[in-house]
Symmetry: C2
Subunit: 609 residues, 2 copies
């Protein structure tokens, strides 16, 4: 959340900054702005709203120069407004700062600065940094930044430009991601790689507590205390074109349809011809695995929901108890971690701040940390002991689809690998499931060929403000993901319940006509779930049921409409049942006229706590 870009070189900085911000807009779109050094000195242009608003301002009065910084905002402190937009400046307008993160002690700093005569123009935490840098400046912007940040507590990635030294750009990273791009006679700052991929594939990745000083010809890396460091350059071989819409109306729709490929790519090289699973990336020997007494799965949002499925998969296949917890809670409750604990962190971007903090907490307590992430070289991938990459490819839509479902595939692979290595299940059982996994991509294609009923249903619920999902077991886990997806992009207030739990209170909200989506893919639990469906119907709920083809007739008798997914092993149904829920969310969002790919208030990779 919040995207930072910076440029210093010989070319037109404005167009490079704006193009970079376009690639970063998924990180926030409450406002955007740039600061550049021009003939008239330091100039700032910024505007509330999407990047397009800033662009229209710049069209009328472009900034001309070859050095600058830019920012796209996801609001934390202060509402989206022109004043709260970045870059922020000091009172003399000589120093400009862009910031991603949260300064936790900004209230104290602000009071202190006000007492010393500073006037603030915004409600942001960031503005204190520009005033601090200005106060500390004595002719060397690097030293001024170093001194200023000694006062800060919290998370920050910074880009700093001063009118007094237009040949230098300063970048700082502390608990918010930042990378440096290396060109020829030009250098770049970016919150992530896509922001600069059009210009260079060579990058340095900054670690926490490090900073970089850029000129057009040189990059110096140092700790924030000023000790020089050397760092291996990384060459990125992503294809910038992969991140285009390829004919789909929205990135989300494209990504939903890429799921069969994502499943195949995530399984490729990990499933052998004899239906055994290889996971060389898991850096634990069979003997070490046999010592694991418990597993903690830690993640946020959608990745947390993948972890809920992972719990069932691992407990069933490996008979090891699993706890799943949201990362922001996990790290603050002194979790009981021992060296016999395997901690699995799940993050699409690998930059989720809460998840990263939990990873560090777990490592500090001696646990082996396995990361499931989609981004090679991300903070989570670099700091974990073992890394299982999901091969979903770049995910651009804010609402995650293929990254989530590829995380499910990763958990299936891990579960089967554990069962096979620990001999906790029969070989035939493992092979049966692996064979069923190989059929999943084609089964998803079958669902994607059969979406008319989903579209119609989505259009029918678009007029509602409340909706409930129910299910038992892994159906409940998928129900939670379906509910979140619908919330994120349709803004319908939906909520998922364990089917048996609704009657313990929330049933009070069911009244005539309230739509309820019931997942009932677990044949062994069908009768119990049908009993709960009847309780809802008796209060006027209108029910859309999802089951596999074998149970669709039985479920159809109890619900108003039923959608059948292909039959698979009961453990694997989430990888199929989530697809109709994604499509319902997509169409409901469309029907309500929302911006599917950029839902209000949200950002793609959540790099603040």
């Amino acid at each position: 959340m919040c995207g930072i870009v910076g440029y210093i070189g010989k070319r037109d900085a404005q167009s490079i900054l704006v193009e970079g911000l376009k690639k970063l807009e998924y990180r926030g779109y409450d406002s955007a702005g740039i600061a550049m050094y021009t003939e008239a000195g330091l100039q700032v242009k910024k505007a509330k709203g999407r990047l397009a608003v800033l662009e229209s301002h710049l069209d009328g009065a472009p900034l001309v120069g070859t050095v600058g910084i830019g920012h796209t905002r996801w609001a934390t402190h202060g509402k989206p407004s022109d004043e709260n937009s970045h870059p922020h400046t000091d009172m003399t307008m000589k120093f400009s700062v862009v910031h991603n993160g949260i300064i936790e002690n900004y209230t104290d700093l602000k009071e202190e600065l006000i007492a010393s005569g500073v006037t603030f123009v915004s409600e942001t935490d960031t503005e204190v940094i520009s005033h601090l840098v200005a106060r500390e400046y004595d002719g060397d912007i690097v030293r001024a930044v170093q001194k200023a940040i000694t006062h800060l507590r919290g998370a920050y990635a910074l880009g700093v430009l001063t009118e007094f030294e237009p040949d230098r750009l300063v970048a700082v990273r502390n608990a918010s991601p930042l990378i440096i791009g290396i060109g020829e006679g030009e250098h770049f700052i970016g919150s992530d790689i896509p922001a600069i991929l059009e210009h260079t594939r060579n990058v340095f990745i900054l670690n926490d507590g490090e900073m970089a000083v850029l000129t057009k010809d040189t990059v110096e890396l140092m700790t924030i205390e000023g000790n020089f460091i050397s760092r291996e350059m990384i060459h990125v071989d992503w294809d910038a074109v992969t991140a285009e819409k390829a004919g789909f109306d929205h990135f989300m729709l494209k990504e939903i349809y890429e799921q069969p490929k994502a499943y195949r790519d995530t399984m490729r090289g990990r499933v052998d011809s004899d239906l055994t699973v290889s996971l060389p990336e898991l850096k634990l020997s069979p003997a070490e695995l046999a010592n694991i007494r418990k597993v903690h799965i830690v993640a946020c949002g959608t990745a947390y929901h993948a972890g809920l499925v992972g719990k069932t998969v691992i407990e069933t296949s490996a008979r090891i108890p699993v706890e799943v917890e949201v990362a922001s809670e996990y790290r603050y409750r002194c979790p009981l971690i021992t060296p016999e604990t395997l901690v699995i962190v799940v993050s699409q971007s690998g930059e989720t701040a809460d998840t990263l903090a939990a990873l560090r907490e777990a490592k500090a307590n001696g646990a082996h940390v396995l990361a499931i992430t989609n981004v090679v070289g991300s903070s989570v991938a670099r700091e974990a002991d073992s890394v299982m990459l999901t091969m979903a490819g770049p995910e651009i839509a804010v609402a995650s689809t293929k990254a989530y479902s590829s995380q499910l595939i990763a958990f299936f692979l891990l579960g089967m690998y554990l069962a096979q290595t620990l001999s906790t299940q029969e070989t035939a059982w493992v092979r049966g499931i692996v064979a069923a996994m190989l059929a999943l991509p084609e089964q998803v294609e079958q669902i994607l060929d059969n979406t008319d009923a989903l579209r119609e249903y989505a259009e029918s619920i678009a007029v509602h403000e409340h909706l409930f999902f129910i299910g038992r077991g892994v159906d409940y886990a998928v129900a939670q993901e379906g509910s979140l997806k619908l919330k994120e992009i349709s803004y319908i207030h939906s909520e998922a319940y364990a089917a048996g739990e609704l009657k313990h209170g929330t049933l009070a909200l069911i009244e005539d006509g309230i739509p309820v989506i019931a997942l009932a893919t677990q044949n062994a639990l069908l009768e119990k779930t049908v009993s709960n469906i009847k309780e809802v119907k008796a209060r006027g709920g209108v029910i859309f049921g999802i089951s596999d083809v074998n149970e669709a007739t039985a479920l159809g008798k109890a619900v108003d409409e039923v959608y059948a997914i292909p039959a698979t092993h009961p453990l694997l149904t989430p990888a199929l049942s989530v697809v109709p829920l994604q499509m319902i969310s997509y169409y409901a969002s469309l029907a309500r006229g929302n911006d599917v790919d950029k839902p209000r208030n949200l950002a793609k990779s959540v790099t603040v706590e």
Copy 2:
């Protein structure tokens, strides 16, 4: 849910049945009905709606007789309607049945009966039972019932009366509670004790798979296979008067104000003068306790929320990992239970069907089961290995208040007992917390003396349809309970989030004016929570904060309004912070003109799955 009453004797059966149903109405109030043997043979009167509707029907045309059965319904199969009301009869109107529970295979049975020529008049599962009893009848109602129930799968408590044998009443229990009351020349059936307490204090409690045959002079107890059994009679020493409103407008309000007493009563005899805790009811020796490797807390609804606090308390005090799960999920996912697992089940009534099933699953797997319940002699209390009684007294309002908060006290006592027995914390730490516990009743009284701001706030949110609660750690646990309470009685769609998790999706629902209640009683987490509050405020959320007096000023700067609770130990804050949330729910329900004590769709003790 669903209440059953039955009478056979010499007095006017109608008034006894109706008075009994009044006491049972908390179990369901979708419809009510009675069947009696009169001069005109078997007669049935029933009506949709509250019991008062039935009463007005009976006023015009009373039934006269000395034997009958009655029922108050919480709808599971089929909407509330006259036809779906109990008692149900066969086609000849000679057999009548009242039923609490769910017949899971009723669809198959119904199809089979229809194929054999039976006509159904209701949508209920129960009606199949009356037709089955009629089909099996060959002159002996006991044998007919025994044969009929061999076809049933599911949960049921039954009362059966036939015109052919008006001197006998048959009662059956399988997984739904039923008791038999013993009078002089008269006998009673009841779903629970209060239904008959006015007439007798001597009861037999039926176990699963047992039945009773009542005449006015005799009670025969037998298994459903027909083997006679003997049972110890229980003498109940409850005071029927305790269950009156005592001048309060609603039972809920009375029960909120009874919390200081409930806390004192639950601590009485368990806290010694040297601030150590005694728990003789815990039937595990210190050596056995030291072998406990993990704890599972299993419960439903409000009791589940008490378990969430219990997790933090036990993990902090005893350093034993705790998993908390809703009972309907727990029993179906093959939980990994070993003899080193302590399973704690929590249920106010001790009759919650899902919780009882989970208890049995845990015992079958060799775990020691500790029950925390409010009702002595309840199914859960009878079947658990150890029982900690909460001393909240009878709770009548459907929305639980004093039972929940007394469960918190039980967890505090248990946590301190474990810390002291296992030496996992310093003695001074334990004594400090126990001393703070003793101050809680008076601190609750302080809150109850200061409710004007809560009433005003509740009235301001009553116009809203959406509301969110946020908090971290135990504040998040209490937030979930506060949210459920508000849903149950105000019907506002509220939802609780871990404060750090909102930004991972649900933040999309925050728009201008949406009310958010933020709990921030954990001083160590205050800055982090304030950061999340700022994220919400930046999107237009209007925030009501709750913190302790020491942090109220700091929190007040970030929120629109702040309510301060007295300061206590951070682990104990839930026992205080829940009180303002209860009051907000109560006043919001009042402001919306709802029936506070009997919210729509709900029932007090959930005895179906």
